[in-house]
């Protein structure tokens, strides 16, 4: 039985909707409340069903890479930050957002200037800064990133923007879209070899339902 890791955060409703479109009934997940490990039995499932783990986004790639889970859904923002050697067969067509540089002043730093950049994505930020004409001291934060430029902890921030409403309400501007972010299916190489047909079947159903590509 394939073990699938699902993210507990903002991507969970998007992922369960995609599973439902592929013929997997996600009701036990929605009814499970606090359960972190459950099975999705029933007809129409690839193979002999799915075992589901509910994990924090940032932990999910490790569970999959190490082989505790065969596959999982995680945002490309987390995946790019974590690195690792995972297969990424498809991205979901819903749940998209942007990884953007945000700031109070409305402009990117001047060429040659040195700023502080607050983010949950320090590796991604360092890669980004390495290609810019300005430099930055990267400050790793765990949440409420928008506060950093508002309170002058940093001049700019690198964070997820969904609708832009939070930025608007906090008098911040989206300075530059760095990457489009989407939930994607990740699989470890060993599991792909062992469960290739089942995984291709699941992915094929998602593509047919146009919830993944």
């Amino acid at each position: 039985m394939i073990r699938l890791a699902l993210p507990k955060g903002r991507n969970l409703p998007v992922v369960t909707a995609a599973l439902a479109a592929a013929g997997v009934d996600p009701a036990p997940i929605e009814q499970g409340e606090r359960r972190l490990w459950l099975e999705l039995p029933g007809e129409g499932l690839p193979g002999d069903g799915l075992e589901v783990l509910l994990l924090k986004d940032w932990d999910l790639p490790l569970y999959v890479e190490y082989g505790v889970a065969d596959c999982g859904f995680v945002g490309t923002d987390v995946l790019d930050e974590m690195g690792g050697d995972l297969l990424v067969p498809v991205r979901l067509t819903a749940g998209h957002s942007r990884l953007s540089l945000i700031g109070r002043r409305g402009d990117l730093p001047e060429p040659g200037s040195q700023v502080r950049l607050a983010t949950k994505y320090p590796r991604t930020a360092r890669r980004l800064v390495a290609e810019r004409s300005w430099g930055a001291e990267v400050i790793k934060l765990s949440g409420s990133i928008e506060l950093a430029p508002l309170l002058d902890l940093a001049e700019i921030a690198l964070d997820i923007v969904q609708t832009g409403r939070t930025l608007e309400e906090n008098h911040l501007a989206e300075l530059e879209v760095v990457a489009e972010v989407a939930p994607c299916l990740v699989v470890n190489r060993a599991s792909y070899q062992q469960h290739r047909e089942t995984l291709n079947d699941l992915v094929g159903r998602m593509e047919a339902a146009e919830v993944a590509r």
């Binding site: 099975e39 082989g67 062992q194 290739r196």
Partner: protein, 336 residues
């Protein structure tokens, strides 16, 4: 300084039973290799960096622990046995009787990001066969070392064992035809099994991502088609010989192992492979437990012409894979 039992990140001490189990496994493997005609070599843990400059990929360079020695020379801790053995043997080859069958065991150290299953010190057992044959898939060095590799893997307790086969340059013509000099990026996308990029490029690449094989070997071009047919024949023979091992040919897995210079830079740490390549997974772990292949061009770069093939097995990973995955039912039982 307060004395604690802490070790640097990625290092581990094996004590008591763990040490005994590893020595036992290592001893059995060494015995098997010796019985198959392989002689042991013992290599230094520290070496000059300079001889490796022409063969280091950017991936392998990033993993090195290197430093300036007391005499001002650049030194590096051993990170891979194969290039070390090759650079020591290349100047001596004219005086050596071929074929040479050698094996080694010992630690390599590589910098890796801190995460589950990613140690920085690995204990490896490996073997190399020099001067025995022509190219992948025929009766040559590749299949012989692959057979020994399968025998050693089967000595571990981890099940299932899955071994993926391919050959370097298999998709070069297809990649260049589909993406020109952006073919290296497409190769990386294929190795990640990105279906959209593959499908956008061609139907053939989409099929390779899904199944690992073309419908007809001829779709790969004349040279690669012949090699694929020979590799499929090797797989058939070995599958009959090792019924407990899942052997599959998957060309997408090794797409970045290219030979054409226009696709250079995509091969990763083991970019020296130029013929048969293989990688093994064992038990429930997602990380490979061993890998190998044909690497004549490594010797060519070092100024020697000889056929060469070999493999290494990571003993900790192989032994770690022996525990079966905990099931939900079993965990629920424990909780009662």
């Amino acid at each position: 300084m307060r004395i604690t039992a802490a070790l640097p990140t990625g290092m581990a001490a094996l004590l008591f039973d763990a040490a005994r189990r590893r020595r036992e496994m290592e001893g059995r493997m060494a015995g098997e290799l010796a019985a198959a005609g392989y002689s042991e070599v013992i290599l230094p843990v520290l070496d000059y960096l300079e001889p490796y400059e022409p063969i280091l990929s950017s991936a392998s360079r990033g993993e090195l622990y290197s430093f300036v020695g007391r005499g001002g020379e650049l030194l590096a801790l051993r990170s891979d046995f194969t290039p070390m053995l090759a650079r020591l043997l290349a100047p001596r080859l004219p005086s050596l009787e071929l074929p040479l069958r050698l094996f080694y065991r010992g630690d390599v150290v590589r910098y890796q990001d801190e995460r589950a299953g990613r140690q920085r010190e690995f204990y490896q057992v490996g073997a190399e066969l020099l001067g025995a044959g022509d190219d992948a898939g025929s009766r040559d060095a590749g299949p012989e070392v692959l057979r020994v590799f399968l025998r050693l893997l089967s000595m571990g307790e981890a099940r299932p064992i899955r071994v993926v086969l391919g050959f370097a340059g298999a998709l070069d013509e297809v990649l260049l035809g589909a993406a020109g000099e952006a073919g290296a990026e497409l190769a990386a996308a294929l190795a990640r099994r990105e279906r959209r990029q593959a499908g956008d490029a061609s139907r053939l690449l989409h099929r390779l991502v899904e199944t690992g094989l073309p419908e007809d070997p001829a779709e790969l071009g004349a040279g690669a088609a012949g090699k694929l047919r020979r590799l499929l024949a090797v797989r058939e023979r070995l599958a009959a010989e090792f019924p407990d091992v899942g052997l599959s040919v998957d060309l997408a897995e090794f797409a970045p192992q290219t030979l054409d210079p226009r696709l250079a830079g995509s091969g990763g740490r083991r970019s020296y492979y130029d013929g048969l390549v293989f990688r093994a997974y064992a038990g429930q772990r997602g990380l490979p437990v061993g890998a190998g292949g044909r690497y004549d061009r490594l010797f060519h770069t070092l100024g020697a012409e000889v056929s060469a093939a070999g493999f290494s097995i990571d003993l900790e990973r192989l032994m770690d894979g022996r525990a079966p995955r905990t099931t939900l039912a079993a965990a629920a039982g424990k909780g009662r």
